[in-house]
Symmetry: C3
Subunit: 349 residues, 3 copies
């Protein structure tokens, strides 16, 4: 029996299967510094301990997307080592904030399976849950990936497609205990615009561009202990259809989120991701731009200190976002669009 992990193939998954992922990961201030240095992240509560504590955080929290990458990275060796495509995310709820010193681990349950008609691949739906050392849920989400079959003669499983919400309702958002955004300082946060200032339908060009280097995305992706081969091996990549290493989609999410500071400087707390698509691949040398649209705006029951905004975050490559590139009349993404993320933030009022 081979001692190397060749990953699970489509026929290895079964409905209800529970997977305990290796390796738990203790997150530290070192991870935070690297995150800042890779994306220029600069939201106040994630940059300044005293300001974080003033808002009810126990300490300076990690950016929610850093927590996401750490939880996600664990699933790769078991779920997507033989993935052809990462098809989507849904119902992604952030729970307890993650602080330096916390240890995060991930388990997944297979909640859906569908073999493709070609008989060579199939779609696997997993519900992955990240927990901290106190057994609090920090992240709970569904993703589905297209995975190759190794044994083409293996029986197709019974098709089961989970019922996934297009978007989470504002009432389903988790408000971490103790948070109180009443005394929010907009001088120190770098943006004057609070929840009340945003209107549904409003679009914001985040203006700045950031060019990605090979060393940067590799450093990021290894930090997350994400082992997907396509990001690291140029010897193999020279023969793929692009001739290049592909950049981890999550790297683009964090870049676009950091760029969105310029226009959404107070949108520091992600509550949920409703949906996400990596519309086109990205490569070293691409310059990433971003724009946002306010999709929804909701009060939060019983809270006068914060409200919820549902945002679309779109990232582009080598295409400044002032013309808000998105989809064509055929419903297909513009070739320069690389990310379409639909998410909820909690924002000071």
């Amino acid at each position: 029996m081979t001692k190397t992990n060749t990953g699970n193939f489509f026929e290895d998954f079964f409905l209800g299967q529970e997977i305990v992922h290796a390796t738990p990961r203790t997150l530290t201030e070192g991870d935070v510094s690297l995150y800042t240095s890779l994306y220029g992240f600069r939201h106040m509560p994630q940059s300044s301990e005293p300001n974080a504590v003033e808002l009810g955080f126990e300490a300076m929290p990690l950016d929610d997307m850093l927590a996401f990458h750490m939880v996600f990275g664990k699933t790769v060796p078991d779920v997507s080592l033989n993935a052809v495509a990462n098809l989507g995310y849904a119902a992604c709820q952030f729970g307890a904030p993650v602080y330096p010193g916390d240890t995060v681990r991930t388990t997944s349950t297979v909640i859906g399976l569908k073999q493709n008609s070609n008989g060579k691949t199939g779609v696997v739906y997993v519900n992955s849950v990240g927990m901290n050392q106190k057994n609090e849920v920090v992240l709970d989400y569904v993703r589905w990936v297209m995975v190759t079959k190794k044994d083409l003669d293996a029986d197709a499983p019974e098709t089961a497609i989970p019922n996934l919400p297009a978007t989470l309702d504002v009432d389903e958002l988790v408000i971490p205990e103790g948070l109180d955004f009443s005394n929010y300082d907009t001088d120190l946060s770098g943006s004057d615009f609070l929840w009340a200032d945003y209107e549904i339908g409003e679009k914001i060009d985040h203006m700045d561009g950031m060019t990605i280097e090979e060393a940067e995305h590799q450093i990021a992706t290894r930090l997350y202990q994400n082992t997907a081969k396509v990001h690291f091996d140029q010897f193999a990549a020279k023969d793929n259809r692009f001739g290049k290493r592909l950049i981890y989609g999550g790297h683009i999410i964090s870049l676009a989120r950091s760029l969105s500071f310029n226009g959404l400087g107070n949108a520091f707390k992600i509550a949920a991701i409703n949906a996400g698509a990596h519309a086109n691949p990205t490569f070293a040398g691409n310059t990433i731009f971003a724009w946002s649209e306010v999709l929804d705006k909701q009060e939060i029951k019983g809270r006068s200190d914060m409200g919820a905004l549902r945002l679309r975050l779109v990232a582009t490559k080598d295409h400044p976002a002032s013309d808000f590139p998105y989809k064509g009349e055929d419903g297909k993404y513009h070739a320069d669009v690389v990310l379409d993320l639909d998410y909820w933030v909690l924002m000071p009022r």
Copy 2:
């Protein structure tokens, strides 16, 4: 009203204007590790906690230039987003040492204004002050930048040029409380040469060269949350007069300072920067060399454990420093000179 920060233009500044900069920044051991990894910094008190404590530091201090970059970075979105040129620094005094766990924030006051005769740009003088969470000053300096006007019809402000010292006097240097360099270990510091061993006029070739990669200066500059667009966006840079991203001048200061360990291994504590010029731009691929000249040497009143050296630190690109390149007979910098920094250090005697 646009929600994105387009920065202040020359006509937006007024004399006496006070600016509270976002975002406060809690500095950590992670930042220190990145700094070491980007520059090879290896002065003893900044590398070894027990040795730092033995010299009277509360803990392992950050290199003063790392503190400088963090304080400086905050000012960019408000002061220099529309800068054409960073013209100079003066009267830069370092105060309380910065330790991991400290939170630094920056405020600036406009102390001078002068519209240029072309009517399109003007010079803004700001006095920026970085404070820690105990409201101790960690850095107090003046810089002046040339900023574009947006509205060319805006009235020119009354010209006011601050009176700036060419150099700080040794009596103006801040000696942080508690420091005592009496028991300094030159075996462990890596250099035998103390304050008494240096002579005014002495020049030192620091010998080593270091080549800069795009990923490195981007990682550094984002770590400092410096948002100047010219450092990150190759899509825009391809159309500038260089066709390339420019490297943050402070990156060169830290590189040259780290190279200067070889010859100035005990010059670990910067007390002041008298003046600084980024003589020529630098780009990825440049190899940086450095040399120093001892400009002055002063006893410090009442201290037998330390003395002050005033040093000129010159960095070059793609030009080993053994011939001490500096200025031509016309008083202009040699084309390979990229940094001219005049600063005071406190050094064990």
Copy 3:
């Protein structure tokens, strides 16, 4: 007298010479994060604090190779600044685990000298010892390097070649106090294979490849405060026989060790390095692959929780390791082999 360190030349060394190396180095969580981000290191006890503590570690230990690089880096300015070649390692014993917060310093003793017949170079054998702030040995090893003479007329020293073991005996391995691998969780570690599952002679292809960027190896090597010029200065390197910067051999060891997780996921604790050769140089752009062979398998006296495996770790460049490239019939390394490391690990049973 020049104030810059030009390093020791062959004639500067003498038998019994003791060298105190600068600079002590306090290791932090920031160093660990960088190490993870540079190599994708993901062994459980080095990634997860609670799991490390469960195994008897005081905290989350650094990877032994990170400790090695830090101890080794200190010796470069004194031992190998004028080295022509790093010839070998022997008798490398790891002692007390290194934890974030520990301060490591290095001293060396010259234990062997032999001038080469050409009269221009000689071989220097040093025994280097890394100690922590509690004066516990963390690493004790011998390396030998070929160093140039500066003064060709200097007398040759009496030849003295130390008696070095080809391999350490299992009884010589240091088992850090308090370790107990009884409750080892293979679900969370990411590999089902324990000590008993490996057979002498077994070969494992670690499958994954990782391409090295200039920024990555420079960041790593500076983190270790290793000042060898050949890794950083492209201006000088353009005229060497490769026209390129050489990558620090230790960078390849850590890369190969991280790749070896896939097949040796529970080989987290290095006890000793018996021998090591950097068979061929590596450069940015190379993709590194690795394979291992089990050379020996020994019980450890009085321990039922762990056993010792002696492993050969071979790294290659631009050559997937499925054909286990090693040496030709002439006994010379295959041109694509870049590392041959013979080491002992302690592994849960």
